[in-house]
Structure formats: C-alpha cells, structure tokens
Subunit: 108 residues, 2 copies
C-alpha cells in the first residue's frame, strides 16, 4: 500500500512537472527562445537582441524555461550562457504523448 501511495506521489509530481513544461511552451516568446537556442547556445544579451522586449522580461522568460528544466545556464565571465537541455524536451514529449493511441505511430 505504501508502494502504491509512493507511486501516486511520483505520478502527481510528474504531472505537475508536465504542466510546468506546457506552461513554459504556451508563450510565443519562449517558443522563439527555444528555437534560437536550437542552433547554438547564447548569452542573455544575444537573446535579448532578438526581441523588442526589455532585458528583465527576457530574463523572466529564461527563468520560466529553466524552472521547466527545458534550458540550462552557466556563467562564463561576465556573461551567462543558456543552452537547450537536450533530452528534456524529448523525454516530456514521450511522457505525455505516449499516453495517446493516436500518437503511437509517430513515436519510435
């Protein structure tokens, strides 16, 4: 019974994580940031340069993406560099879409 409860807890936690991921993806700016990072990692300043939004705004978006585990950052001198968290996207994707029969034939 304790095992079942633990299983439910894990399920709930992953459900919340999944919700975080979808919330992160449900904004056009954040989608665009991910596309920018697909090519290569970038500094915050480089990312800001691609939008007509203030630096704090982009910084907020980046923290949402980081909270959803979709990006990873590290400091290099004065700059903070963001890159895609490879694997996180595909993992979430399989986790959710794998539940649906109509998606089975699109997943490996």
């Amino acid at each position: 019974m304790a095992n079942i409860d633990r299983g439910i807890q894990i399920f709930r936690r992953e459900e919340r994580h999944l919700t975080k991921v979808f919330k992160a993806l449900s904004d056009g700016t954040r989608q665009e940031i991910l596309r920018l990072l697909e090519g290569r990692q970038r500094t915050v300043g480089e990312i800001v340069g691609n939008f007509n939004l203030s630096q704090p705004t982009i910084s907020r978006h980046l923290s949402v993406l980081k909270e959803a585990d979709l990006v990873v950052d590290h400091r290099q001198g004065q700059n903070v560099i963001y890159r895609l968290n490879d694997g996180a996207l595909s993992t979430s994707m399989q986790e959710f879409f794998g539940q649906f029969r109509s998606c089975q034939d699109v997943l490996r």
Copy 2:
C-alpha cells in the same frame, strides 16, 4: 514576394495555433480530460462526474480544448458527446518538436 508574405502569414497563424494547443495542455484538469477521452468518447455529464468541479467549469475547459482543435463534439439527443480529435495531437506534436534535433530520434 507575395508568396513569401503569404508564407509568413501561414507561419504566424500556425505559431498562434501551436500556442493555443500548449495553453490548452498547460492545465492539469484539461490534461486529465484528454486522458479520459483517450479510452472512449464521453458526455459532458460523464466528464463532470470525474471531477470535483462545477459543470460550467468543465464546460469552459472543454471549449478551450475544442478551440485548440484537440477535441470534437456532437449532440446526441439531450447529451453532447466529446471525443479526441485523433491526429490533431500528433500533428501538433510533430509540427513543434520536429524543429529540435534532440527530438528527431524520438519521432518516426
């Protein structure tokens, strides 16, 4: 040039559609509704019975899912029956995740 503009318009429209889809998915209740509908189609009343939420609230959630084209409804007598819009999920999935190299090896 007109062709390019038209292409951009299509891109923008699909981008907005994708945002709608992710917004629809970014709520735990709506995720749960989709899982319920995975097994079989259900009336609104049946869906409401699975939650501790009012009927209007569920009705709102259903309209969000419908607006995102993730579900389809039709009336049958007094009831309105909802079912998954098979294909819409997998299409959106490929449309977005196909952009990322790290997802390529998970998609067919």
